[in-house]
Point group: C2
Chain length 107, copies 2
DNA sequence: CAGACTGGTTTGTATCACAAACCGGTTTAT
DNA sequence: ATAAACCGGTTTGTGATACAAACCAGTCTG
């Protein structure tokens, strides 16, 4: 009955972390975003943003592309198909879990 | 515009932890539940469940009542009004955050 | 040339989730 | 009567990790 609830316990922790959830939600909407845009949008410190992005990259959820805009470096992030799918799955699972409610213990 | 998103970053971490989210969702539905019921329902180990309950108690979100059922101890948990309110706020905030999407950076 | 800024990465620390070990008490077996 | 197994949890140890501060390579400005 409440299996949707129990499933919540092994939800994707990569996405579940609030900072990353924000990052992924943005990337899901805009398709590509550079580091500074993400920093402004999230309010995260650079260090924090950097490590979350690395974590998302390691998970295969985002690609990070480094180019030069004239002479200044520029880091562009995109959600991968895998990341997009994971985000979709995350939202669905979370929604089902929060809506789920067990029947009273006995009667 | 996407302030709902940024707000997500300071979402209530007490509730956000998946194991506790499951516990709170159950307690929100059933009004009171004993330790063993929660353990069966969540699939958590005893130690893990115990420490999450303590954490929820410390946060003022649940009350833990110890009684005896004949000769065996029995631990009963309830969501406090504060806990119920926090859960409601959590759900609303999460929902708004997930629905929120920023406009593309420039054009 | 010094100093400040840009665009990040690396390092240190404090927190925390988790399971294993433990514990007081009770029931069952010998 | 004693031991051994079980019940209902709590405490302890540890590995992971979120976060910010410090750092760094390069560029621009006075």
């Amino acid at each position: 009955m409440a299996d949707e609830l129990r499933d919540m316990i092994d939800i994707d922790r990569i996405i579940h972390e609030p900072a990353r959830l924000v990052i992924v939600t943005i990337l899901n909407a805009v398709e590509r975003a550079d580091f500074l845009y993400l920093q402004r949008e999230t309010g995260l410190t650079k260090g924090n943003l950097s490590s979350h992005l690395t974590r998302l990259e390691d998970a295969g959820y985002v690609t990070i592309e480094k180019t030069f805009e004239g002479k200044t470096p520029r880091t562009t992030c995109r959600l991968t198909d895998q990341g997009r799918a994971a985000f979709k799955a995350y939202r669905e699972r979370l929604q089902r879990a929060i809506d789920a409610a067990p029947a009273p213990p006995d009667a």
